[in-house]
């Protein structure tokens, strides 16, 4: 029944290559998260604004990001944008796709966090002579980021897992891409991908742990 010979040696020999891939994975995840956070903040401001066009734009972005598969969004960046004459490399397409997704989910997190902050806080800031933007920047935003920190951590883990989708658009430098390239040469699918799974697991756990440590330090008061 069990006539398969495992060749773990080959997988372990490729470990340095795969760890290089893991760095690329982490890089994409961090970059996409940074872009996603910035865009999500902008979207949150748009949604709060009186301007119908801006708030409509933000709502459409959030709903599309949340109601279509991440893989579809990456395909859209890679194949779809080609129709406008924009040809993105797999790396950029992956980054754009994940950042788009992150921004949508983070904006929704921020909205949930905003609900927990009483309206009176803004009004108190305004009556101290702050402009609306100042009240948001100095009163609401710090509290919002604090509440949204844990969901954002989850989104970061999601971003790491999503980077593996790059392999479907021809990405070959991140962890999944490297593993697939190695697999294409040796056909040791199980060994290589099991090792990749372990690495992904460790990265996800390390990020979660780091975020938790950071949270206890940042939110001491």
């Amino acid at each position: 029944m069990f006539s398969y010979n495992f060749h773990w040696n080959q997988a372990f020999k490729a470990l340095p290559q795969m760890l290089d891939g893991a760095l690329v994975t982490l890089q994409i995840a961090l970059l996409s998260m940074a872009i996603g956070l910035a865009v999500a903040l902008a979207l949150t401001l748009f949604r709060l604004s009186e301007n119908r066009v801006l708030s409509g734009f933000a709502t459409v972005w959030v709903e599309i990001a949340r109601n279509t598969p991440a893989l579809f969004q990456i395909y859209m960046a890679h194949f779809g944008l080609g129709s406008f004459g924009i040809h993105l490399s797999p790396y950029t397409a992956l980054l754009v796709g994940i950042a788009f997704n992150n921004a949508g989910y983070l904006a929704e997190n921020f909205r949930g966090a905003l609900k927990a902050i009483p309206e009176t806080q803004t009004r108190a800031g305004r009556s101290l002579g702050m402009t609306p933007l100042m009240a948001f920047r100095y009163i609401v935003m710090p509290q919002m980021l604090r509440i949204a920190f844990l969901p954002a951590t989850n989104q970061m883990v999601w971003a790491i897992l999503m980077t593996s989708l790059g392999v479907t658009v021809g990405m070959n430098t991140d962890l999944a891409g490297v593993t697939q390239a190695l697999n294409a040469v040796s056909f040791r699918t199980f060994e290589f991908f099991a090792l990749a799974a372990v690495i992904y697991y460790l990265i996800a756990k390390a990020v979660t742990l780091a975020a938790r440590l950071a949270a206890t330090r940042m939110f001491r008061y």
Binding site: M1, F2, S3, Y4, E63, I64, R66, N67, T68, P69, A70, L71, F72, Y75, M76, F79, G80, L81, G82, S83, F84, V157, L161, M162, T163, S164, L165, V167, T168, A176, T179, T189, F190, F193, A194, A196, A197, Y200, Y201, A204, K205
Partner: protein, 216 residues
Amino acid sequence: MFDTALTLADLGFLAKGAAMTLAVTAVSVLAGTILGVVFGVLRNQLGTYWSLPLTFLLDIFRSVPLLIQLVLGNALQSILKLGWAPFTTSCVVLSLYTAAYCTEIVRGGISAVPTTTRRAARSLGMTWWQDMRYIVAPLATRVSLPAWIGLTLGVMKDSALVLWLGLIELLRASQILVTRLQEPLFILLICGAIYFIISFPIARLGGYLEKRWSND
């Protein structure tokens, strides 16, 4: 002005892909939910310490990319010479993936039922099973349903990844059409619209239930 080579037959092909997406989702969510409820109750009964192995095992499914899980599942079934079709493999992997998330939701729902309420039930002479069936189940369902709807939609979207095993679901069907017709933007937009039409109303329903059931 606008010209496309897309025919009615191609739309039918996309619809078939969408049906495949829904079939994979339905099977996986059904099996995953049953498993998730069992694991969730088990984790609650065993306590933190004794359920540690189960917690760890399920955590793996949430910390490893689904694509890798699918590849590993497929490799494993060929190593074990199970001879599963891609559809079966996809459903098995997605079910376990769903179960891992569902366990968390069920566990959260059960722990949201106040201990005092359950003790009251037991002191009225209810058995453990009666307590579970008539006290915990209704209250926990109320808490968990919005999250479960979210999970179902998540699985529906994640089921796009089964294309890697060669299953022709919605996204793969659009990709095939794109390769043939060379109109990536138009076809992908249709594909996205189909996902959106399936997902958006259900997401709204989940949001509504969450709002409706939260304040009491």
